[in-house]
């Protein structure tokens, strides 16, 4: 789904840029990284909402005029990267001072995304087809087979079991509303949902779901592993102040050809990987990792937009746990020194449950405690002997013969990244 701020917001940004100091432009040029138009980029793309409560609201456009009126009404509620980034920085500053999440510092954010069909109805087929991404144009149902969703028979629709977005029922609009305080979240959702005031034919809510992080194990995903430890760090300049970079740099620049990290576990990626209109990381290898300029023929209205994959998954936590316990006892794996369900789980996920890397300097390391932020990282080097020997080739091959990935049941996951590839 395409996700971008609306034209009025873009106008605000351009005006603010024109009237703003030239210093930040000069600084961005000096640092060799693009100046990000953070007032024009939705907040969940580069900054991340990082909220414990999130509501997803899928809508179908019934009447185009009514849909436009509704969008005009909610436009002012769409959160920008600038807002979310500043809140996140304030939150981190206070947490560092207090030593815990700052009480009372809460925010509620909203973003919006459009499917190809939704964009086509609101604009034109030509506009929708101008989005330079074949998976976006094809839509997720057409990609179901690529995603591993198998139909009951070769001629059956692999999306027939989807709860939302199956063939012919792809939402036109997806609202993402997230907050620290569930009461405030519900309140904002109520204000953003189409209502009688939007007139006849206002968009219809066709599906809605409220998601929450684990209150029993904050910061961990459903399988019990520390979450958010290997996010890419996006390059780009956002201010001329102390936090000049979108992703603060903790580590020194590496030798030529090495992957550069902002901090452990966070490789630096050019912003065009996530937002249209900026330099991207060269995927062809021609320039040794980029940056490469964005396509020249990119429509101006797409600038600062992004792509979001909305895919609802069910996860079988008990099935995974049972599997790694059984597989670790299998003779083909139990012969590996140190094999245990904990190690096998770490190998499958890429880190210990604590978030620590599972090997260092070629030697497997035990799950450490307590967690220290500086070591909360995956080592991505596949060249260290232990990893090279046992992961991914060895483990993957042995798992393949053992594996009967359990049928998933359980919660939902939203994947707010850029591309369906």
């Amino acid at each position: 789904m395409l996700s971008r701020r609306t034209s009025r917001a873009a106008g605000r940004t351009l005006r603010s840029r024109r009237s703003g100091p030239d210093a930040i432009h000069a600084l961005a040029k000096q640092l060799g990284e693009p100046l990000l138009e953070v007032n024009d980029i939705q907040g969940n793309i580069l900054a991340g909402f990082s909220k414990d409560h999130q509501s997803l609201i899928a809508l179908a456009i019934r009447d185009v005029g009514a849909a436009r009126r509704w969008l005009a009404r909610i436009e002012g509620h769409i959160s920008s990267t600038a807002e979310v980034l500043q809140f996140n920085q304030l939150f981190r500053m206070q947490r560092a001072r207090i030593g815990a999440d700052p009480p009372g510092l809460v925010a509620t954010w909203a973003n919006v995304a459009f499917s190809h069909h939704g964009l086509e109805r609101l604009t034109s087929c030509a506009h929708a087809n101008a989005v330079p991404d074949a998976p976006f144009r094809a839509g997720l149902p057409a990609r179901a087979g690529l995603l591993g969703d198998r139909a009951a028979s070769p001629s059956a629709d692999p999306t027939s079991e989807w709860v939302v977005g199956r063939t012919g029922q792809v939402p036109d609009v997806l609202l993402i509303v997230a907050g620290d305080d569930p009461t405030k979240l519900v309140d904002l959702c109520g204000r953003l949902r189409p209502n009688a005031g939007d007139g006849q034919g206002a968009p219809e809510v066709i599906w809605e779901e409220l998601g929450e992080t684990r209150i029993d194990l904050p910061g961990h995903e459903h399988f019990g592993f520390k979450d958010g430890v290997s996010q890419p760090a996006v390059r780009g300049v956002v201010s001329s102040g102390p936090d000049v970079f979108l992703s603060p740099r903790v580590l020194a620049a590496p030798a030529p050809g090495e992957v550069e990290f902002a901090k452990p576990g966070q490789p630096l990626i050019w912003p065009g990987q996530f937002v249209f209109g900026y330099p991207s990381t060269d995927g062809s290898g021609a320039s040794g990792g980029g940056p490469v300029a964005p396509p020249r023929d990119l429509p101006q209205w797409i600038r600062n937009g992004s792509l979001l994959v909305f895919r609802r998954l069910r996860q079988d936590v008990a099935g995974f746990t049972n599997f790694i316990q059984a597989a670790a006892r299998d003779p083909s794996l139990s012969a590996i020194a140190g094999m245990s369900p904990e190690l096998l789980g770490a190998l499958c996920v890429g880190r210990w449950k604590s978030g620590h890397r599972f090997h260092e300097h070629g030697t497997p390391i035990s799950p450490p405690s307590p967690v220290t932020r500086s070591r909360t990282t995956i080592s991505c080097s596949p060249s260290t002997p232990w990893r090279r020997s046992y992961f991914p080739e060895c483990i993957r091959r042995r798992l393949r013969s053992l594996l009967r990935w359990p049928t998933c049941t359980g919660s939902c996951v939203l994947t707010p990244h850029t591309s369906a590839r």
Binding site: P135, G145, A255, G257, G285, V292
Partner: protein, 373 residues
Amino acid sequence: MKIARLDPPGHIDDLATPALQAAYSKWLSDRFDVGVNSVTQFLTAHGGGTSQFYNPVMHGRTDPDLAPSLGDISWNGFPKRFLSTGPGAPTHFANAEPAPAAGRTRPQDEYLEWFVHRNAAGKIARLDFTCEGYDYFEFLAGHDEAKLLALYRTFVDASAKKTDLFSNGTYNIKNKWNTKHGAMHLTHPANNLFAEVFLAASATVRRKKPGGGEETSSIPLIRCAEYGAENRNSDPNIGRAVNGLAREKRMITLANPVGLYMAAFDGAGITLDGAAADGFFRVTRGTFPLALRGVFELPPALAAAGKTVSDVKIGGTSVEFGGQLAQRITMHLVGVASVAQPVDNAPAVCGGVPQVGSPGAIVGTPLTPRTAE
């Protein structure tokens, strides 16, 4: 581990007599020797050391090797340099498969090449994929012309003649049946068996980091050792994996039968009129994971009904180019490494390993290392 002989790629049954099989083994063994000698001379010139790359026929090792799965090195078959440079930028499928012309090599440099058969309406009727080195066919041309011609007639066109394949008595790897009208084997200068052997040999040389320490990452390694092109999926990946085994102080060679292979075809999401079409890919020489040749075409009944490969969709996108299906092919080769870790060479300075000697008397196209475009 010492072996008695080197077999033809994929254990294919092209070589009918023991004498021919022995000749092939000697032919390939000579290439291993060039690799070993080149590495040995390079090490001697840079502080000394023992070649960790060895010829499995000539070397006397009898100790055990690691499991084959630990030396399995895979990569995607579509050339990396034609991939999209980033979001919003297209994959350059058309550039990856320019219109075939007699004598023109294909720009597909991941040890996988393909030929697109189109009907009169320009629709794709069939796709042929091959990963057989041109030097193997030069060997066949030098030892069994009848077999060479039979392969062309079986897999490319029944009307192929010997005179089409040879120029002035020399096998022409860029003959019209392997360029303009089809693909019998690889044509890109870097796509040959000797290049595979020499890359593996060169990558066993451990390398110093300019600022201290040892190179371990794929791109810095290939820039330092100059054993291939960094804008490929294959070369940096092969080099990194082999060098990793070398840093573990193991003795290293290539698994018999030596070759570049299609390991698997991923048919997920390939449909025709909404029905699964993943079965349209067939291996026609060798078998997975040592497949040498494959074809993607519709079953006769569907073809008779007027359907073509152009009607097939991958994730909702119509097939317009062979490269879209080449992207679904996983290539691989298998290295062999000793359990023992007897050689602890000091890392050497940057610079390519110069080739020492010539691998036997092959006439025709000169063998080219992987660095060539």
